[in-house]
């Protein structure tokens, strides 16, 4: 509702102001041009031929949240999205995801090269020479070892990142530029995760009480930008690191402004205060499309970017409940889901539907599978077949005295669910199913999910890599404490997921992953909803910005004026 209001305010009210306030100024301009096809689709224009990058200027962007810390290590401070956005340009890892082929091998970053032993248990990394931290000290293999030691120390609040190193046997630094990583058992993602996740931090900055380390709030990395300052509650800034080992950044400074309120953010955006406006709500995205005077600033002043992230939303049925243990019931509920209505009214046509737990454009998804269409008749037949009939005539189906009545658990913050769930609720009612909605704050929500104290949840899974392992999410061993919160257990899927873990050939692995996709779909473990687009707008003067699975690379950005 709040975003809807935002949209109304941004479009309607501002429009109204315009008509009355400054007619002379408005008449002076040419008619507002209709947006181009690229603009409408959110495809950033290709680089203009003959334009050479220029140095200088300040690049300002808006994010909708403020991080609690600037670190990838600390459990309470390193939050996925914020960390990616805010420490991305400061910290570097040994390798990075290839933005052009995210499912392919990593590209070397701080590593010059690496070698994996035939048994996949040893990784030998040769570090790039001549790399220096922002404080001037040289990067050595010992720095990486220090970071790993800090992560492995059970006293430190590093449980989340330590999880990735659960199978680590030892890390050694035989010389300044060589790092040897040994694993206890082979795992296809082990080396990729190590190379792409462990940030280079100076060893000496990690001495002392881990919780109170200054580096959590004033990061020192090797990246193209160095940390400048952080004004709590308002903004942070980075300056170009002139001692950077690679292609130096073009802009002098990057300013990240934290603007939580969507209406205020839309206003600041209209004022032209952001070179990059991120996380535009779908309603606002649509509101600026009409070629009217009120939208001139957006159509003529900005380019839009709608990049589909590796994030999908889903509705999960707690299979510990009597009705959700039966796959036929889950399928019937999926058939009742008003997919078309949600796409039109909630997603505003911006979210591509999905059925796959893997990166959508990848081999791992079976292209033959398409989302179940809304089919209330088919749903009723399935429910009848599964024995759920309205025996007492109260309009709600039941079986063995248990009514088919459950509660959707959602956080109070989710705008999308606030609109989607009532539509689904109404569609379910038509099928003789009653779904209540309970909205609670995110802290309580996480506790409930972890305690498995829910009937139905709606969440999203997100990854910045296209190579993924969904073992944690769907293997039956993860039902008690892992991310398999719905309690899904299928021995065939278990076997496939275990096989995938030690399959090092990408082609063979993709074949197995397709089978997983097929089985998850047949079992309707989740009602897969849609992929989330990252809706951004880029000022006309900005060049070199390319959206990717791991967000943008800010060192490529330059300003034409």
């Amino acid at each position: 509702m709040r975003v809807l209001l935002t949209g109304l305010l941004a479009s309607g009210l501002l429009g109204a102001c315009t008509c009355q306030k400054k007619p002379a100024e408005l008449d002076a301009g040419a008619p507002v041009p209709a947006p181009s096809a690229e603009w409408m689709q959110g495809k950033l224009p290709a680089p203009k031929p003959g334009e050479a990058p220029k140095k200088g200027g300040t690049f300002t962007l808006r994010v909708n949240l403020e991080p609690t810390g600037l670190t990838r290590l600390h459990d309470q401070m390193a939050e996925g999205t914020m960390t990616r956005l805010t420490v991305g340009p400061i910290y570097e890892t040994l390798g990075r995801v290839d933005p052009k082929a995210p499912e392919g091998p990593l590209l070397p970053l701080l590593a010059e090269a690496w070698e994996e032993s035939d048994d996949h248990l040893t990784l030998t990394v040769r570090l790039r020479g001549g790399v220096r931290f922002h404080d001037g000290s040289p990067l050595t293999a010992k720095d990486f070892k220090a970071v790993v030691d800090v992560i492995l120390n059970p006293k430190n609040a590093t449980a989340a990142i330590r999880n990735y190193l659960a199978d680590l046997d030892a890390v050694t630094a035989p010389d300044e530029r060589t790092l040897v990583v040994k694993w206890k058992r082979p795992y296809f993602l082990a080396n990729r995760t190590f190379l792409g996740t462990i940030p280079a931090m100076p060893a000496k900055a990690l001495d002392g009480d881990f919780d109170a380390l200054p580096i959590h709030r004033a990061p020192i990395g090797t990246g193209p930008f160095r940390f400048e300052k952080w004004e709590a509650g308002s903004s942070m800034s980075y300056a170009r690191h002139d001692g950077y080992w690679g292609q130096k950044a073009w802009v002098d400074r990057v300013v990240i402004r934290f603007v939580k309120d969507e209406t205020v953010a839309a206003q600041l955006w209209e004022r032209g205060e952001f070179d990059l406006m991120t996380r535009i709500p779908p309603t606002v995205w649509r509101a600026v499309e009409a070629p009217v005077e009120a939208n001139r600033w957006a159509i003529t002043g900005y380019q839009r970017s709608a990049f589909v992230e590796n994030t999908y939303t889903w509705i999960g049925w707690n299979e510990r409940r009597p009705f959700f243990g039966d796959a036929r019931v889950r399928r019937a509920l999926a058939l009742l889901y008003p997919r078309e209505q949600v796409a039109r009214l909630v997603d505003l046509g911006l979210e591509p539907p999905t059925t796959c737990p893997y990166y959508a454009s990848k081999e791992s998804c079976d292209p033959a599978i398409t989302p179940l269409p809304a089919d209330p008749g088919g749903a009723r037949r399935l429910l009848d077949e599964a024995g759920w009939k309205d025996s007492d005539g109260d309009g709600v189906r039941d079986k063995d005295g248990v009514p088919l009545r459950f509660t959707f658990l959602a956080t109070t913050y989710s705008v999308k669910l606030g609109k989607l769930l009532p539509l689904f609720q109404e569609a379910l009612r038509q099928g003789g199913v009653e779904g209540d909605i309970e909205r609670i704050d995110p802290g309580a929500y996480s506790s409930r999910v972890r305690a498995r104290d829910f009937d139905v949840i709606a969440m999203s899974w997100s990854s910045t890599d296209a190579v993924q392992d969904v073992f944690q999410i769907f293997h039956s061993s993860q039902a008690k404490e892992g991310s398999n919160s719905v309690g899904y257990a299928n021995p065939e899927v278990d076997a496939l997921l275990e096989q995938i873990r030690t399959e090092f050939d990408p082609k063979a692995r993709a074949a197995l992953e397709r089978q997983v996709h097929r089985k998850l779909f047949d079992d309707q473990v989740y009602l897969f909803l849609s992929l989330r687009p990252q809706l951004d707008a880029v000022k006309n003067r900005v060049r070199g910005l390319v959206p990717g699975i791991a967000w943008y690379r800010l060192q490529d950005v330059w300003l034409s004026e």
Binding site: C17, T68, K155, A159, R217, G233, V259, Q267, A294, G443
Partner: protein, 317 residues
Amino acid sequence: MKRYLLRRLLLMVPTFLGITVLTFAVAHLAPGDPLQLDQETVGAAQADVAKQRAEKGLDAPLPVQYGRWLSRVVRFDFGRSYIDQRPVSEKLAEALPRTALVSGLAVLFAFGLAVPLGVFLATRKTLLSRAVSAGLTVVWGVPTFWVAVLLLLVFSNPRALDVLPMQGLGEGGLVDLAWHLVLPVACLTYPTLAIATRQVRAAMQEALTQDYVKAARARGIPERRVVWRHALRNSLLPVVTLLGFSLPHVLGGSVVIERVFGIPGMGLLAFDSVGTRDYPTVMGVATVMAVATLLSMLAVDVAYGFIDPRIRVEESS
């Protein structure tokens, strides 16, 4: 008087304990956990988190945890945030001045304007005064989040007036700061102004019917003096009470206003720390609020004595 003050100060101790016990209990009993990880990273890491929890003393019984907290607070140690690990006192020291400035100015303006306006409305029985009275009632009911956004759309939009800044408190300099303060202070002022004016008007109207006012008029004292000296002083009691209630809010801040205008003050600090179950910060904010409330209640009681000679501290007890 000294004995009275001392007794009142001593009485504050159990009240303070009561407030903090309740806050502590409510904060901890709400489901949620400051140390929980993202859903994506649960699993084997849970065991490690359990150890962390033990280390932070979060698995001890609540009374024990409260006792530990209290023993630190009496030494002015609010502990460290569970989330960003900064000392809570540091976070309070950052947020408090911003909120005190914005809300303090709002209270100052609200009461500064409410007294003359209330007197005016009570003494003039014109159509205008009735319209203003009715208008105040309406204004009082308009939600600030709506007004805040509306003000931004009017005063800070490039296609409207575009004269006032939208976010933060400026980059230094008194003039810049003043410009930044206009909208948030205005938003916080009008509800208090509306209610305080109504209070002054009502009290004033009542005072003007009292015998001592008639007597004063009979003695030939000029009307202006009757109103401003004799009647006003006696009608200030409810206003002072209202002021007493408003003062703690000065330090508590407003989540809505701070969010819309991008002012990271006490309101947002409280809101965010409740959301993340950052108990040390929640309790830090609660402590500041409790002390502020108790002190302003005391101030109000003392002020009563000065304003109304009928209320005097009895020394006999």
